[in-house]
């Protein structure tokens, strides 16, 4: 058999398989981090506008009092935090396989999200 030059061979993409637990945790944490960049300033500025510490802005106040924004914020905080804890535990060598702790952490974050949703909506 003749070897095919490297650039002529078929390159398999990592997305052509089911995502693994570790890659899901990684992506969710980063997406949640990006969401927090928007949601935290929105919530804080909305609170300041509500107290009129800054000039009143009806959009910011509406966002501050919006239950859906609260749910999004709680979800992003919960998942970003639990996967951050997972990363720390991996870094210090306490978590050595993907399944250990990841599923309990996802369950915990989901419960926090559900609890927050019930209160906020």
């Amino acid at each position: 058999m003749t070897a095919v030059p490297r650039d002529q061979g078929e390159r398999r993409k990592w997305l052509d398989r089911r995502p693994t637990l570790g890659s899901v945790a990684w992506i969710v944490q980063r997406v949640a981090g990006l969401a927090l960049l928007v949601l935290v300033p929105l919530k804080v500025l909305g609170g300041w506008a509500f107290r009129q510490d800054i000039p009143f802005d009806s959009f910011l106040v509406r966002m501050h009092l919006n239950g859906a924004v609260d749910v999004a914020l709680i979800t992003a905080v919960a998942f970003h935090a639990v996967f951050g804890v997972r990363t720390v535990l991996i870094d210090v060598g306490l978590v050595r396989t993907a399944r250990v702790l990841t599923i309990p952490l996802i369950v915990f974050a989901s419960l926090v999200t559900i609890w927050g949703s019930v209160i906020a909506l």
């Binding site: 058999m1 061979g9 990592w14 398989r17 089911r18 693994t20 945790a25 990363t87 993907a98």
Partner: protein, 226 residues
């Protein structure tokens, strides 16, 4: 004997990519490699795959079996109840069918100077073997970051890197740690831990990478404080 439907993801430059199915009868003790050999003998002599030692020492027959990397010679065909999917390793160019070009794996491995610098690690006497690592490429195939970050050297190279750091002189180890402390080295790992479940030898690859990170961080603090 059990009837197994074997789906093989095939590729060649002329026919392109396709999946071929084979109905094979396998014994309870047959390995996936036995299945591949029976396909070639009885169904399709054009199917390409690699094998050598048949005892799990060389890593030549590493493929993706039912979505997970494994040694074909050491994986029982009976584990796949009724249906089995065989694919080539990921993150490596496919030459034909289940045969991949391993040179990118070894290029990444060589990038860390795996021969070491100590007297017991002369270039002449060193081999690519690292402890129990058989350099099969399963970890690189499973690693999501290796697919995203083409310069990432991969788990096997970093596992070797840790061993060298622990064995080399303090000066050489510090230099090696500095060399590995970037996104192509230890910081390219994001802790997905896929390499751990893929390694057919069960090596603590992720643990080694994170030990490297801890060593690098503690060394950097000690340099700052001294």
């Amino acid at each position: 004997m059990n009837d197994v439907r074997v789906s093989v993801r095939r590729f060649d430059t002329e026919a392109g990519r396709r999946v071929h199915g084979y109905d094979v009868q396998v014994s309870d003790t047959a390995s996936v490699l036995d299945v591949l050999r029976s396909i070639v003998a009885e169904h399709d002599p054009t199917l390409s795959f690699r094998s050598a030692c048949r005892v799990g020492m060389c890593g030549t027959c590493t493929i993706v079996i039912d979505g997970k990397e494994g040694l074909a010679c050491q994986t029982a065909a009976a584990d796949s109840a009724g249906a089995m999917t065989l694919e080539p390793l990921r993150n490596l160019p496919v030459i034909k069918d289940l045969v991949v070009d391993s040179s990118p794996f070894f290029d990444r491995y060589r990038a860390i100077a795996p021969q070491g610098t100590g007297p017991s690690h002369s270039v002449e006497t060193s081999s690519m073997a690292t402890g129990d690592c058989i350099t099969c490429g399963a970890c690189l195939s499973a690693c999501t970051m290796a697919a995203v970050n083409k310069s990432f050297v991969g788990p096997a190279a970093l596992f070797r890197g840790l061993r060298l750091v622990e064995e080399e002189s303090a000066e050489d180890a510090a230099s090696r740690l500095r060399g590995l402390a970037d996104s192509s080295g230890m910081y390219g790992c994001r802790g997905h831990l896929d390499c751990v479940s893929a390694c057919p030898k069960g090596l603590p690859l992720a643990e080694a990478i994170h030990k490297l990170k801890r060593l690098a961080i503690s060394r950097s603090f000690s340099v700052v404080s001294s």
